[in-house]
Symmetry: C2
Subunit: 205 residues, 2 copies
């Protein structure tokens, strides 16, 4: 069984426990042999895979009443992987979602590391600088890079910890965030774990 | 005594307990009669007021060792107004600073309402929407506008409340934020209170 997460810029394949990331532009879905279970936000590639009989859209497996109609498919998948806990997916956005007894409790969306740095820079040339990930979030800052890093991360971590549940970190910046949430577990393949769980259930969850 | 806060787009005058906001482009500082104590981030207007003998720059009154060199002058002024507490100045950026016994303890910088909405919109057309300020921040969200609003405000409020000090709100969105921090005091003229306090001390503070 092959799992596939089709984004707008990259295609993430998971087979035999191994992950490989390919460029979405060059990707030819017809060369993949065997059954492929996929999620996709890429409308162009969608059209092509829908014509292939060995590609199965996981969208139809989802019980949408459990989530909400405009919720990202990738966000739903990481939630499906967790029975009880907070799921933090740190990519271009940082999504924070809560699961309890396998039921979705809601969540929120923050800006990702890059989007936040860009937004500060756009606000003022004086705020155009990189974050300092060595900063101590427990302290109030006394220089600009620290003030921006604390402003970005301290509120977010404060809110996540206030939810008092096990925290699962995933996404490109999951490991980076784990520095600041020592009790959190980093699960890089959480999205594929969610996809697998959904397939194994085999029925609407 | 006239107090003046010169920004890049507007000039904020405070005299006889009344505040008036003027456009920075049209502003002619030479027409103002009497002593004017000012702060400015506007380099063009700076050159003009420096030639006038009745305009006094409050920059020289500040003991910069208490703050940090790149800290905004307006941010220092609102801090000067408060002996003990958290000062939240909600403008294009939201600055959060802590004072204790009249000594600056540090702070952090978050994005303002507009900057945050713009940054979400830039991330994805699916996130291009207005905040819902009627949202209950205690709940995790189950639709996109709420997920963005909770993502912006719940972490920020969580961090501010975790500091366990009296909260003073000021700036254009101070009153808006006060909906979510019921115990906070809104002080619209906090910057002028700080300027006044600094002048009354009359010596380096």
């Amino acid at each position: 069984m092959i799992l596939c997460d089709i984004g707008n810029t990259s295609v993430d394949l998971f087979m035999d426990g191994k992950r490989s990331k390919l460029s979405a532009v060059d990707f030819d879905p017809s060369i993949v042999q065997g059954d492929v279970y996929y999620i996709s936000v890429n409308t162009l590639l969608n059209e092509r895979v829908q014509k292939l009989t060995n590609w199965y859209d996981l969208r139809v497996f989802i019980d949408w009443d459990k989530y909400y109609p405009t919720m990202g498919i990738d966000r739903i998948m990481v939630c499906e992987a967790v029975e009880d806990g907070i799921i933090v997916d740190a990519g271009s956005a940082i999504t924070v979602d809560m699961m309890q007894g396998g039921i979705y409790q809601g969540g929120f969306i923050s800006l990702g590391v890059r989007a936040m740095e860009d937004a500060y820079a756009r606000l003022s040339p004086a705020l155009d600088m990189s974050f300092n990930f060595e900063v101590d979030l427990a302290k109030m800052a006394k220089n600009t890079p620290d003030a921006l890093t604390v402003g970005f991360l301290a509120p977010l971590i404060c809110k996540i910890e206030s939810l008092e549940k096990p925290v699962y970190l995933t996404g490109g910046d999951g490991r980076l965030l784990s520095r600041f949430i020592p009790e959190a577990v980093v699960v890089e393949d959480l999205i594929f774990q969610g996809m697998k769980k959904l397939i194994e259930k085999g029925v609407k969850c």
